[in-house]
Subunit: 357 residues, 2 copies
């Protein structure tokens, strides 16, 4: 079976509709037995030997004699390197037993220009309505805008052509941690931390604020000095819990972290307001790790999420994304990105996780 | 027992030499029973209640009446916030049962200005010659210059005053993977990868170059097309293995990665020359993962290291360092940083790992 390259599609006649579309979900029907294949679909069928060759449409009628029958190698070279990454992802998903279509007009209803493929659930195909994933193919060197995440699966093709699938979703974080606090507690701002010399027990024990100065596991001296981070202290000062000037603490935070501090404080407050306790995520390279349901520090569960705070216009390198997601996966936490706009609006909470299709 | 603050030291008399230095490794002997404590040591003894208070030296003789006896809180405030981080590390190591001294003139022989503490092996102290660690204390917001790593333990104090110890060493990587290659193999440069249409089997099977296009685990089609990354192809082209122009491949690499490509290629070559096989570290957020002893891809062991390639003048954020080291630890690999100078000299190989003192 041969195909004819017409513009950006490969047209196949004969029994193509029955053979490729009806029975295997390739291409889109043109009427009768004819179908159109995208270049990626055609490359895959050439690679598999299910199409023998492709010729440029009309070349014979134009009397061109140098127009060859293209096999897989020539077809790839003709298409230009830019289809290689999409071909690799298409082939990977096909080899895993999925049917999928280009996410474009003629192939799917309501195509999304940002995405490359629509993947159907196993056993389903382009003649069904069900969609399993919308896939966006990116090379490992591409720029990935944070604002474009949240409703697609990224298929990252690395330099050795291995594919990592990253599922991105909107995240809705909720918890049940308490928020009743003492008021007017004395504290000292010392460099980039705050010391509370005579802390009410509830502050750490129930609110999980700060860290006792004299804490060894199994030997927590709750009556002793409590250390607070600047972000904890700035939040508590504004709530009236500490008798420190909130703006002074915030200024100190800006001195040591610049704009990042305000973004982190904004997200810290939002998490507390949702009943979630944020603690430092430093050991995981993140801004926060979070606990959704803290009743007492004596009965802390596993922290559920790692949160990285980013400006809303952040552009990811896929490699950094891969690093964060891999680490979170290894410690059994969800990786969450909190995006903060220029007016301290949180524009989005996005979760990213590894996916094995 | 009380101390007198003189310049940057606290002088203690009475039976101080016997009580603090001989029996517990605090301070440095001044002659007779007198010893001098660094501010950090004095703060710790005040915190523990082993010194009652500190007064400013000579304040009584100067007739100053407002000079108070400082307890722990006043002493910390007087010292300024900058000693807090060092105090936390000092206290942590003391609480773990170590003796340690400030890494400075008068306390230790050959002090190193970059480091903060000399830690003695358990059971040893300042009167012995043995040194277990040289500790450098940094806040999580500090800048850590890559060139200064390799011979000290970083004690990173995070915003919640938790301490992460990162041991840094010079790394000497060696392997036994073979280097005999075929020559003049035809290949196509397609966008940001290279396809070898008829690869000699040894290229992948013994050299572990590239990735078969039609590879599914357990069903490797070795006779098929082989995909090479740009860095693999640039190396192989220069070695004469590929019949591609080496400079053309390198130019393509620079187009897609800018200066990073030349640094990565330099490190790739160095690893191959040491008998080590580098493969992409993308899934781990690194440049390479490495295999020291590849005989055949059918018998691949676990990769031993993750390598991140950096310009020699790179400055780490401790948080990024923590992220890399944590991930490497989780997947049981050594984290290695390869530093490349402006003339493509590899100036250093540094390993960084978590340490529990």
């Amino acid at each position: 079976m041969n195909g004819r390259l017409r513009d950006d599609e490969v047209v196949v006649g004969g029994d193509a509709r029955q053979r490729y579309y009806d029975s295997s979900g390739y291409g889109r029907p043109l009427g009768g037995q004819e179908i159109a294949l995208s270049r990626v679909e055609a490359a895959y069928l050439l690679f598999k030997g299910d199409i023998d060759s492709v010729v440029r449409d009309g070349s014979a009628s134009r009397g061109e004699s140098d127009d060859e029958e293209m096999g897989f190698r020539a077809f790839l070279a003709d298409a230009g390197g830019e289809i290689v990454a999409r071909f690799l992802v298409y082939a990977d998903l096909r080899d895993r037993g999925f049917y999928l279509s280009p996410d474009r007009e003629g192939w799917v209803d309501a195509p999304r220009s940002n995405d490359d493929f629509v993947v159907y659930p196993r056993g389903k195909g382009p003649w069904d309505d069900a969609v399993l994933y919308r896939i966006r193919v990116v090379g490992e060197r591409a720029d990935v805008s944070a604002e474009e995440l949240g409703d697609a699966v990224l298929a990252v093709v690395d330099e050795e052509s291995e594919i990592t699938y990253l599922e991105t979703d909107e995240a809705d974080l909720r918890g049940s941690s308490g928020t009743d606090h003492p008021h007017g507690v004395a504290a000292d701002l010392l460099d980039d931390r705050v010391l509370v010399w005579d802390p009410p027990a509830a502050l750490h024990e129930r609110g999980f604020y700060g860290q006792p100065l004299d804490a060894r596991d199994g030997d927590r001296n709750r009556s002793g000095v409590l250390q607070l981070s600047l972000v904890e202290a700035a939040y508590l000062a504004r709530e009236g819990v500490l008798s420190l000037d909130a703006e002074t603490v915030r200024e100190r935070g800006r001195e040591v972290e610049r704009g990042r501090f305000d973004r982190r404080l904004r997200v810290y407050r939002a998490l507390r307001e949702r009943g979630i306790v944020p603690k430092t995520g430093f050991k995981f390279g993140a801004d926060f790790r979070t606990y959704a349901d803290v009743e007492s520090v004596d009965d802390l569960g596993h922290s559920e999420c790692l949160v990285r705070v980013l400006p809303a216009d952040h552009v990811f390198s896929p490699r950094d994304l891969s690093l964060d997601v891999r680490l979170a996966h290894g410690v059994r936490k969800r990786m969450i990105f909190a995006l903060v706009g220029p007016n301290e609006q949180i524009t989005d909470w996005i979760s990213v996780s590894r996916l094995t299709p």
